[in-house]
Symmetry: C2
Subunit: 346 residues, 2 copies
Amino acid sequence: MSNNKFTTISTIGRQGLIQKIADSYSDSTNEVPVGIGDDAAVLRKNEKEFGLLSSETYTEGVDFDPTFTPMHHLGAKLLTAAVSDIYAMNGKPTAILINLAIPNRVSVEMIEQLYKGFQQGCKDYDCTISGGDVSASHGALTISLSVYGVVEQNKLVRRKGAKIDDAICLSGDIGGAMAGLRILLREKQHWQDSGIEVMEPDLSSYQYVVQRQLLPFARKDLISGFEENNIVPSAMTDISMGLINDLSNLCRASEVGAYIYQAAIPIHLETRDVANELEEEVDKYAMFGGEDYELLFTLPEKDVDAFSKKFNDFVVIGKINVQKNSVKVQLAEGDIWEFEDGKQKI
Amino acid sequence: MSNNKFTTISTIGRQGLIQKIADSYSDSTNEVPVGIGDDAAVLRKNEKEFGLLSSETYTEGVDFDPTFTPMHHLGAKLLTAAVSDIYAMNGKPTAILINLAIPNRVSVEMIEQLYKGFQQGCKDYDCTISGGDVSASHGALTISLSVYGVVEQNKLVRRKGAKIDDAICLSGDIGGAMAGLRILLREKQHWQDSGIEVMEPDLSSYQYVVQRQLLPFARKDLISGFEENNIVPSAMTDISMGLINDLSNLCRASEVGAYIYQAAIPIHLETRDVANELEEEVDKYAMFGGEDYELLFTLPEKDVDAFSKKFNDFVVIGKINVQKNSVKVQLAEGDIWEFEDGKQKI
């Protein structure tokens, strides 16, 4: 290597590296009207529609733990994560490409189970497995998904576009995926300590949160709700990295700020129970936990009223304001937490 | 795992696993007219054009060797491999998505070098980096590229479509990438045996083959040649896995057979020299070596004559016949090698 400087990636962080790449390569062209920096790239398609393209890579031991993740659940979950990026642009997924780098200890049967999960996901989200590739890996199982989708041009929603005074809305509830992960990691620890051969924990008291972690569902129903009621959010993204992170990205793209209310953040009762049981703060699950695949979107007040009469699985958690890149959370006790570019100000 | 059967992937092989997946999931839909089983998936775009989508994953230590692969060369090479799949459908690449799973020992500077290679490739092939993602890896650096392209509907060329008596044509020359790899592996062995810290071999006698391995170029010029001369091949694929393999895939898709002449296979003089020096058979490099990224295509005789007057970097190596899935190679000495489904018949 002729370049002798060695800056570790942890110095600038994953987000810093992505930003560095985005800053250098955020070209838009006639064929690619929107490039890096949103949930999906936007491609020229025809006079009425855009194409949407997104891809993600998942590495065993980093992004998933094979100890407690059955292969068919893994396939379905990764498919959910992939299509969620298309829904976050208000589009519909149509084609999925799947690339696998497979180590020796993975069997043909395991890959078949994985594909059963992919296929279930394709059925749920009306898309098809349309290609991909298979290669070897000396280490971890690595799975890359590319998803292509379509959106009518006048229905495209980006992270950019939130307006001052828009309501900040959130579908479903959040923090559940993290609560589920906490329980699964605890059970894994018990199992490892016990020396028993097979991990078969009793998870019956944790069904909701474990399902949120292992088998989440992307909000196709919300996108259909928008379509049926002629609602187009001013901005949108999905909850993949955690509310504060994802809201900060939406604010940065829209050049606005956000003020949200802790008390308004939707949290499932079982998520609260898990936090209590583990003596952790449920608000941290909700604000910083990722992988819920709910949709975070902004709407003018008038649309909120109209839409809430037709679709009831969303809540308003706050409002957009002029304070660029600032996300403020008013806690139930009255204190305010402030985040700038996703980092807490002290 | 409830399923206790464990069939290793080596039992059925990479190609067997891909075939198994393709057989189960080769749906075509209104949105995806051509799914699994060609160089790229074909997507509905507009009345005149199709979209094309392809993706590949490369794992350090399996698909590339960081000892002798500079990061910027690696970026450019992987981009070449990605766009080659689009050219193989007679299309033009427009957008690239890049996913990285990065281990700790890779620095920010190394990633910047890698992106310089991607950017150079995008410049060469008129496309843009339009998205992707970055995650961590505990083991190998893993790189996935998704490439989107476009093709006029009446210019789409598939593996399927070769007709009886069509000429089998090949651009450039082949076997060079494998010759380059042989030299690099030999130099790596010398270096490891020597105990010297930095690997700096004298490769001046091997410039052509080393470039074919480290910095190959996809045949954009041939696709332009087809366009300018109103030629549409009856079938096409790229040389990524080796002539016999890739020709066998084309024959299977087209439900035809092939008869080719060893003496007609284009091999560079330096490729021959390397084989002589290493006391290996150059025909094996040419028939089974991959990664040349030349294009293999079929044309009716009348088009061959017309096109060869306008574009001179291709040769005819044989002819399509009725013997389904059979590839025969007539050796210079008169013997015939026969392959069925890519496997040699003895």
